[in-house]
Subunit: 683 residues, 2 copies
């Protein structure tokens, strides 16, 4: 089946009771009222409705039926599927509930398997149905939204329904709607490729609570975002404990933070509320692409202008000052009491002509504009709307409007909409939308989710690893490690100390000691050869009763920044790399960033710049910065390593010393999947 | 005059042309249409309008006139004021523009002085007028809002007007509205005391761009907030450079950060957008106080419930798990597929009865509730609204509703409103409102802005200070300083070094050297007596050509946290204290908090807990924390010191070493106002 038949079926059978008030009846009513007529009723009593003929079985329908909308009881579904198969039905939208959402996984699995066997694609069960505006097909119990170019995919039927009800008043038209409920079969991964090619769809909004397979999801999303924008709202942010997730590589797995990373990494836009979703969709639906962050704000009231500028700046747009020539021209053309900086305040004297002229001229040097009109009952807002729309037409750049407020701007907002200028309740919301649109334009290039090249489990010892082995392995894989020495006797320790130099650090090596510091297993700042023996002996004591593999010695590192670099496996998204500022600041201030691996080093550069402490890495107060390219290569390489060695469950490089002279790993621990046990631990 | 006469005048004169389309005419139309009838027209031609009599001068009006609304040309105002005086008019609302907003400060000053002389209070000039719903008085050109219990004071006329236009559709009624424009006289400081006592007003919304006198503002706001909630929207957040402000004590002056601190310190609620303002006002306007942060979310759709829970948590509410008995009771009464944790998901089967029962029972253990209804066309939402309203009535606790979406919930939202249940577009917005209301309840106690007790400029040397003098002065004022030694010769330095102990720190002392590190004027880690002479001599070299006041020696401090503690004078709010995590982390991560001084040490405790790095101060990873009470006392004491010594323009204590064993100041600099010059500088 192609998805096209789901949205444009030659005929539709509604399977379920046609008694007034029953789901089947309501569905039939909706479908007919929506304007789709090749529809037939199917139920054991051959009951029809609204002068639509009823049949006992789908097989009995004399016309071709591509799609069945099923609302009959859960225990009848298997039989209905048999009939669908025999009748050549390609797709079934199963509204009926009572499956995995109430623990009936067996029932759902049977449906899935049987449908697969028959080659029938399924939406649902336990879903709110589908809509295709172009086909006038409203196979759903939810409100019928106006037709437009926004497609909506929702895991939650009720939320999807709310969005449909709201669409009209929010100025949004719907091209396609799919509520996939329990997703026994179809979900966004299957639907996005179709919508990418769908001429009726310009932007997709997606509501998810979880994904089925993280990497498939990323592939589908990134491919889609190469062609069209995707706005995602994912619930469950705090529940999954973002904070806990960020502080520790191990616990980041499965967290909302990984979802967040994955969504952004694929070039999709994550929003937090339904209103943001509407706003952003409206922007994409109506405006040309926002190709830059320089925004000009033109207003007839100072206050809302400033509030908008605040929000624009904090959203990452640049409210830059007009150029000297533009400023000069403004000074010539506008009354004296106008504000000539950005926001440009035309004051209450702003006219159709001044809005048009100022916006036209501004958009020669700015990337986009926000036009604010704080209306008063005694001013003609439609004229201002005309000036704005004219300016938008003569420029190829986007203008978002905020006409305030209430009834007095109703007519002018309708006029704006008719000329493809989206209006937002406040200038702040317009600013938010333009910034998200700018992000989309920036991210649109090179969104290839690298595939995992798991070539082998070679090289990595199968047995448990102790710190010197991990360090050796890291070095072998071209990671810079501190010059260390592994000593199994006092003599070796003394010799190693001389080779390392003073002051030095000495630590226990024992597969049984997870937290070296806790048992006094770490001695810092050993100043000279005389102290080596005492230190060695103290460490021997701390290993009593434990397997003793000697000690490891490192030079003391000073004047370096400490980073952490970690990797783990998310149950949904697979290998994930985490980079952060080391030490307690990671734990307390959560200054960490993540990426789903593998990724290129230019993506790693982005990670580095996203750290709040990025200025530190660049160098502050005259201190030289670190080599950001080299750091990015290290970060990307850890991602590759995680893909190559599937048996690494978790790796923590902490600290990674970083200074202008280079990088060096000062400690690392690793957990292997097979052993399922920690092999070594950081101090 | 009492402000009461402004809102409830015995008679109103509208001064200005009554020719159709002129401001005077439009004002007359508004006032009459609003239902106020004791109104008279005044203009040189004695022109009347709408069968209202016209007079040449106010004096000619035969009835008592308490208030004049003036829209006559700017150059006529002085004369009109004379007439007002003679006619016994108490208050003048000057709509006319053309004063300080276009640089005509002279004109505005004359008006202010003359009005003061006459004892006439002024609103404006360049304002949008006033509204008093109770008096049916709409002396404004803006839309007439419905009457309610929200008062609005706006510095911007246009923004105020937009809010009035919007009020009805946002479910807000207005008790009083004042647009004070250029505030030649009255502003929020004068109006708040009246509104605090006004039975018609339950909550005040205030839009400001700046304040006239920060400390007066704080006094008025904190006094008001003891009685009623105040919601403030202040524009100009990014413009004034919050980031820059946070990184350095000196630049924090006049910044938006100080406004933010001052607003919160007084117990007012700052919001960022007009929509937030509406939402929060609606909550206060309709709901009982929110006395606690435990919120229960009851929904009939999972998705919006989770989104709401996310927002509630991130806003500081606690989405706690139902108690065991409540959970048990839920399990008995609800169908199996309902979600019994918080959010409680009644699913699409949720009924009037289940909403009522669950909410009633929940509010026995929760502090407030959010009731979500994702409506579908085939469900009766009004019945659900009734269940919710009943539960709210039988409990004394607040319930906020979010009925979604669009036309299909219009009727039920009206029903909710009639029963004083505010409805919000999304559950997220309801959560935001409840959290702000909870904050208000928490802050409502003990909001006394301490007055500055500037008893003298004693003790502080009048001349420029060098580091040892600053340290001595700090010690005298009971601040803990590191044991330092000031040495003016090599012999003194050697002797001091022995007293201090090794390793030690030696720094130059010269009033001419601002940045000691830059000239090599700081030597760290001097390990033993042998190195003292070399260090001393190196420092001598770095002072060549500068005034040489010797060197200062400190012990080396290790294993301490470094804080910064600073004070400066804001041009609006006066002395401000800043506390932050020291070092580059202050600059990069901006982890600093502020308070307007003076304040009690319990306020200082709050500052400490607001630091993102607060967990560090409490102690992490088994390390003991610092004495938070002692830190709070130090912070509060710096505030007191700033008030006592007005000549201190700026003081920077950096670092303030902090560990479990106590506190010690490691460096400090001070700028005195009279000298206007930096006296010493940190390393």
């Amino acid at each position: 089946m192609s998805i096209h038949q789901l949205f444009y079926p030659r005929g539709v059978a509604i399977v379920g009771s046609m008694t007034v008030g029953k789901l089947g009846y309501e569905l039939m009513k909706q479908v007919l009222e929506g304007g789709y007529s090749s529809v037939y009723a199917v139920n054991p009593k051959s009951q029809g409705a609204f002068s639509v003929a009823g049949f006992q079985r789908i097989l009995d329908i004399p016309s071709p039926i591509d799609m069945a909308v099923i609302a009959s009881p859960a225990d009848s579904i298997m039989e209905v599927l048999e009939d669908c198969h025999e009748a050549g039905v390609q797709a079934a939208v199963i509204i009926t509930s009572g499956f995995s959402e109430v623990g009936n996984n067996v029932g759902e699995d049977s449906i899935r398997l049987r449908a697969r066997e028959f080659g029938i694609r399924i939406v649902g069960p336990n879903c709110a149905g589908i809509v295709c505006g172009g086909a006038h097909l409203y196979a759903t119990l939810e409100s019928r939204p106006p037709v437009g170019n926004v497609a909506l995919i929702s895991q939650s039927g009720a939320l999807g329904g709310a969005v449909l009800s709201w669409a009209e008043e929010q100025g949004i038209g719907i091209s396609k709607f799919v509520s996939y409920g329990n997703r026994a079969d179809l979900d966004e991964v299957d639907l996005l490729p179709y919508l990418a090619e769908d001429d009726e769809t310009r932007v997709v909004a997606l509501y998810i609570e979880s994904v089925r397979d993280g990497r498939n999801f990323m592939r589908a999303v990134s491919k889609f975002c190469m062609k069209k924008p995707l706005v995602i709202i994912k619930s469950g942010r705090t529940k999954s404990g973002t904070k806990a997730a960020l502080s520790h590589t191990g616990s980041m797995a499965g967290s909302d933070g990984v979802y967040d990373t994955a969504i952004k990494q694929c070039g999709a836009i994550r929003v937090e509320t339904i209103e943001e979703m509407f706003d952003v969709c409206k922007g994409f639906s109506m405006l040309p692409a926002v190709k830059g962050r320089k925004v000009v704000i033109v207003t007839n009231s100072g206050g809302p202008g400033i509030l908008t500028a605040d929000k624009a700046e904090s959203s990452g747009l640049h409210v830059s000052t007009p150029s000297e020539p533009f400023n000069l021209s403004l000074r010539h053309s506008l009354p004296q009491n106008c504000g000539l900086n950005n926001p440009i305040d035309l004051t209450v004297q702003g006219t159709e002509k001044s809005y048009r002229q100022v916006l036209e001229e501004a958009l020669q040097e700015f990337d986009c504009a926000i036009a604010i009109n704080v209306a008063t009952p005694y001013l003609d807002s439609v004229a201002l709307a005309r000036g704005i729309a004219d300016a938008s037409e003569s420029s190829s750049k986007p203008i978002a409007a905020s006409f305030m407020a209430g009834r007095i701007v109703k007519e002018s907002i309708e006029y704006l909409t008719s000329r493809r200028i989206p209006n937002f309740a406040t200038g702040e919301r317009a600013a938010f939308v333009l910034s998200k649109m700018a992000s989309y334009s920036e991210r649109r290039v090179e969104l290839i989710v690298s595939e995992i090249d798991s070539h082998a489990s070679i090289e990595l010892p199968k047995e448990r690893l102790i710190e010197p082995e991990i360090m050796a392995w890291l070095r072998k894989n071209n990671f810079p490690v501190l010059p260390y020495r592994h000593a199994r006797s006092l003599e070796e320790a003394c010799q190693s100390a001389l080779e390392i130099g003073f002051p030095l650090v000495m630590k226990v090596v024992s597969p049984d000691i997870l937290h070296k510091s806790d048992v006094g297993g770490v001695i810092l700042g050993i100043p000279n050869a005389n102290e080596v023996q005492a230190a060695y002996e103290r460490l021997q004591v701390s290993m009593e009763g434990k397997r003793n593999e000697g000690v490891i010695l490192y030079p003391t590192v000073s004047k370096s920044l400490e980073l952490i670099l970690g990797g783990s496996r998310d149950p949904q998204f697979g290998p994930v790399v985490l980079l952060g500022m080391g030490g307690i600041y990671t734990e307390i201030l959560h200054d960490v960033v993540m990426r789903v691996a593998p990724f290129h080093s230019d993506e790693a550069i982005k990670m580095v710049t996203e750290l709040r402490a990025f200025p530190l890495l660049q160098g502050v107060r005259g201190q030289p910065g670190i080599d950001l390219d080299q750091l990015a290569r290290l970060v990307a390489r850890l991602g590759d390593i995680l893909c190559q060695y599937p048996q690494i469950r978790e790796i923590d490089i902490n600290p990674l010393f970083a200074s202008s002279s280079g990088f060096a790993i000062g400690d690392a621990r690793m957990i292997l999947a097979d052993l399922g046990k920690e092999n070594d631990d950081s101090v």
